[in-house]
């Protein structure tokens, strides 16, 4: 099988001998591995407005949504904003094990980035669209503890916000009902959050160089990261779930993390997420979807709750991962090295009895763990 050779002197060897051979200290990739690597790009993807949100991609909505995101105006106590748990200095996460506003919640704050690519939102996928997910913390008694009536009244009585609302939605909040105002605020918040896109990473530079056979740039990518990448798509099979340009299949799995909540009881994970989704008035199947023809909610129509869904949590994107510690749905894993070690030493008895047989202990060496971490840090 033809192998591609990369390393500090790869260029010389590549010209001198075709096909190249493996040399000490260099990393080679087979054509199959190369195809696997290229499947993680290009990045960033072209922005496509969300058809279910008529103000998605609209400049005025992005501006208004940004103001709402920063403002404490949406919380009952006026003490909390979206920034409380999604701090731009912390990759729009909060660095805490479990987030805390009025009370501590059961899960870790998901970093907000590249959200337009999601099919589901939240660790359990309770929402099938970003505007619904943006409404959720406004209403959660542990977070902002507001109601549709409260936020609608505040919008109606605040001159700048009322003006902003009219400007974006071409509608007077005094004549819109409470639910419509709440959903519109969710849509403005979504329009802003859709603009949070991670820039091309060191991995993307490497991937692009690989695609264009730019040996000089390929040589700049650290050797440890190349070895880690090889493990990621090889022995580790990490790319079975963390696939594509956003390094996720957008679905849910049991990663062998505890599902007992710190507050007591069991976190149902995806099982509860589907229950919540089916009860929600804010899905793509509901009346607030602005374009059911182009956003028909196929996933929501067909999503199936099964026994396997218990304790499953979203497969997160790995982009920007080095900036979003701690990890897992409950923030129980402090560092990236601990995450890799978790999969290396996986307690298979901890996995769901009826779950998939996908996850197995990887038994990685210390060097393989370090290499995988080095690779993940380049995302």
């Amino acid at each position: 099988m033809r192998r591609l050779l990369f390393g500090p002197i790869a260029g010389l060897l590549f010209v001198a001998t075709t096909p190249p051979a493996i040399a000490n200290g260099n990393i080679s990739f087979t054509e199959i591995e190369k195809a696997a690597i290229l499947s993680h790009g290009p990045w960033p993807p072209k922005f496509r407005p969300d058809p279910s949100n008529r103000v998605s991609g609209k400049k005025s909505a992005v501006t208004f949504g940004r103001e709402l995101f920063r403002s404490r105006f949406l919380s009952r106590s006026r003490r909390h904003s979206c920034l409380t748990c999604h701090n731009p200095d912390l990759a729009y996460a909060d660095g805490l094990t479990r987030s805390s506003a009025i009370a501590t919640v059961d899960r870790n704050a998901i970093a907000l980035a590249n959200l337009r690519l999601n099919r589901w939102y939240g660790w359990d996928g309770s929402s099938d669209n970003l505007w619904a997910q943006s409404i959720r913390p406004i209403l959660d008694p542990r977070e902002m503890n507001a109601t549709a009536g409260l936020v609608a009244e505040r919008i109606r009585s605040d001159v700048p916000f009322s003006r902003g609302y009219k400007n974006v939605f071409d509608s007077n909040p005094k004549s819109d009902d409470n639910q419509k105002i709440l959903v519109n605020l969710g849509k403005a918040l979504a329009a802003f959050q859709e603009t949070i896109v991670t820039p091309p990473s060191r991995f993307d530079e490497f991937r692009s160089a690989l695609e264009n056979n730019n040996l000089k740039k390929i040589g700049r990518y650290p050797l440890a990261a190349k070895r880690g990448l090889k493990t990621f798509i090889g022995k580790g099979k990490c790319n079975l779930c963390h696939l594509g340009p956003n390094f996720t299949n957008g679905e849910f799995d049991d990663a062998g993390v505890r599902y007992f909540k710190a507050s007591g009881g069991v976190d149902k994970g995806r099982y509860g997420g589907i229950q919540n989704l089916k009860k929600s008035p804010y899905t793509l199947l509901g009346k607030f979807n602005d374009n059911p023809k182009n956003a028909p909610g196929i996933a929501t129509q067909h999503v199936a709750r099964s026994h396997q869904s218990w304790g499953q949590f979203r497969v997160p994107s790995l982009r920007n991962i080095s900036k979003t510690a701690p990890f897992m749905h409950d923030g129980s894993v402090p560092t990236l090295r601990d995450v890799v070690r978790h999969y290396s030493e996986l307690n298979e008895e901890r996995l769901h009895l009826d779950g998939s047989g996908l996850l197995r202990r990887l038994n990685l060496s210390e060097r393989e763990i370090s290499d995988l971490v080095a690779f993940l840090k380049t995302l």
Partner: protein, 126 residues
């Protein structure tokens, strides 16, 4: 729209010998199917146009369910497809999505009276 039209064309000719698409042999019928879009991608929803074609002129069974799973991983799809019977022997399955690369077993379930039968085939996603 062009892709849709070609699937529809193939569907209308599905019981003819050389119709494009895949064919599975049952007893005493044949199953013809084509995916829409034609190329299935990991993580993307697709439909199945299905025809049941009689071999010996006997009554055709009805397509009841379509499902898929990865035997080596021990999991199925996260979605439950629906099946519509659009015309005698012609069915449309919606809501299929394979969320991982690898070998999937695509399984068709038929009913005729009290009798339930299955046909299956392998789909490999890269």
């Amino acid at each position: 729209m062009a892709a849709m039209a070609s699937v529809d064309d193939a569907w209308s000719q599905s019981c003819q010998k050389n119709a494009p698409g895949q064919r599975l042999v049952g007893n005493p019928f044949q199953l013809w199917f084509q995916t829409d879009p034609k190329k299935i991608r990991v993580g993307e929803f697709f439909k199945l146009h299905v025809s049941i074609c009689s071999i010996d002129g006997s009554t055709l069974p009805k397509l009841l369910k379509v499902n898929a799973g990865m035997p080596t991983h021990g999991h199925g799809m996260n979605y439950r497809p629906t099946v519509e019977n659009l015309a005698p022997g012609k069915f449309l399955a919606k809501g299929l999505m394979m969320h991982m690369a690898g070998k999937w077993l695509l399984r068709f379930e038929f009913g005729q009276g009290d009798k339930v039968t299955h046909l299956q085939t392998t789909v490999t996603l890269k």
